[in-house]
Symmetry: D2
Amino acid sequence: MVFIYHRTIRFKDTDAAGVVYFANVLSICHEAYEASLADVGVELETFFGKGELAVPIIHADIDFRQPLKCGDDITVHLTAQAIDEHRFSTHYRVMASTDRPAATAQTDHICITARDRRRSPLPPQLQQWLRHHGEAAAVPNPEAGDG
Amino acid sequence: MVFIYHRTIRFKDTDAAGVVYFANVLSICHEAYEASLADVGVELETFFGKGELAVPIIHADIDFRQPLKCGDDITVHLTAQAIDEHRFSTHYRVMASTDRPAATAQTDHICITARDRRRSPLPPQLQQWLRHHGEAAAVPNPEAGDG
Amino acid sequence: MVFIYHRTIRFKDTDAAGVVYFANVLSICHEAYEASLADVGVELETFFGKGELAVPIIHADIDFRQPLKCGDDITVHLTAQAIDEHRFSTHYRVMASTDRPAATAQTDHICITARDRRRSPLPPQLQQWLRHHGEAAAVPNPEAGDG
Amino acid sequence: MVFIYHRTIRFKDTDAAGVVYFANVLSICHEAYEASLADVGVELETFFGKGELAVPIIHADIDFRQPLKCGDDITVHLTAQAIDEHRFSTHYRVMASTDRPAATAQTDHICITARDRRRSPLPPQLQQWLRHHGEAAAVPNPEAGDG
């Protein structure tokens, strides 16, 4: 169920403290999210810009435990969980050389119409993605939603 | 007490959805933090890389309410609060055209020695900064610390 | 005629070598370009995304003479020059503490239609901008263009 | 001789025009450079920050032919060429779906001492890298250098 994303830390990810700039760890988590969507057939250019629906992030949080350095080979372990008919959370564990995560993060997303930014039920592809990578089989049934 | 940082949203801040990429809002908050430190005389190159102490971010969270667009003139309203002798939180309200924040965020920081990454009391400049921008006068007395 | 853009180097601009990451100097130059356009009334969100015309960069080059560090207060000195009816060059001198530029750069731009990406004459606002910041009065007359 | 680097375009690479932000294409080229160095055993954290030698970029240029979009799978084809005992050029062809490059770029590098920023001969690892990825066997003999 866990989606695993491989990444090498690049020079551009780092800052003058010699480690990855804090906000860039969230960006790397988002890369894992993109890769997991592509993995179930989501067409990214449409999903992230030109589609009728948008799925913006409404909340993000991250805890940093170990700094990451240029050249480090890391993996991001991604799982997801529906919150309700319109919203879901994506969870990330950023793993470097040890068993303990270098960072853990979460992003919360809401599905809206691109035109008037009203809540919209999660489209079938995202429901499929939640079934693939969900932490539990708790994806709500859109037929029963509060729309 | 509130430090106010002015910023224009730049093209590089945006993504293919036409608005500021989520993690870049945290980067803009960090810019406000840097400006507030410089405002009390902190020498940034030393503070963010070459000094004996480091003050890495151990936690960040952010809530997004309104998207920001290229050309938007925003202000970041910064306040800070000591957590204990070694740690403090910085709070940010990102204000665009309306009275309601476009985003609110928090970063938590810990003071450590650069060499062996042990906890260290906040240096005098950070204590001064906390007094300037603190939400309350609750900066702990380092003489009484548990360090 | 020279447009001057003020900027403080931020932590995010830097990399693990302790100085501004090379490609970020070009991004800072682009910020100056954006500010110079806003200065003559160009609405940036439309200009950089939603308009009928697009003005993509077709070439960029940059020479680095001195590294820039976190906290440095710099200015970017911008001038521009029409190449032909559809194209122009923007020139940048990135000035830090000394009289000698820390970097000099150039970006070349072409005006195209957003829909089918065909060459289009520079719109009146860009012609006005070229007159304001041009190195010479050599803006071609669009009436005489080769369209 | 050509080093090939695979990369998927990520949401963070893009801007509000819906394509990769111009300066980020140079960053992607630099990623290929990093990967090619790691491929011959260069330890990246030392090479890009903590070593006795530094190899800063002194010039970069890039030509853009086709825009790149979120989700595009690209390859960067890298070759390199010594300029003299202290300097080399790295050449990049950014290939998307067609045979024609989406962009071509070049970065010029100089080897200096980190402490006093004086020219220094290219270290053995870089000479090995130039032999692997060189466009010609024209790596100068450092014994015969002009110091």
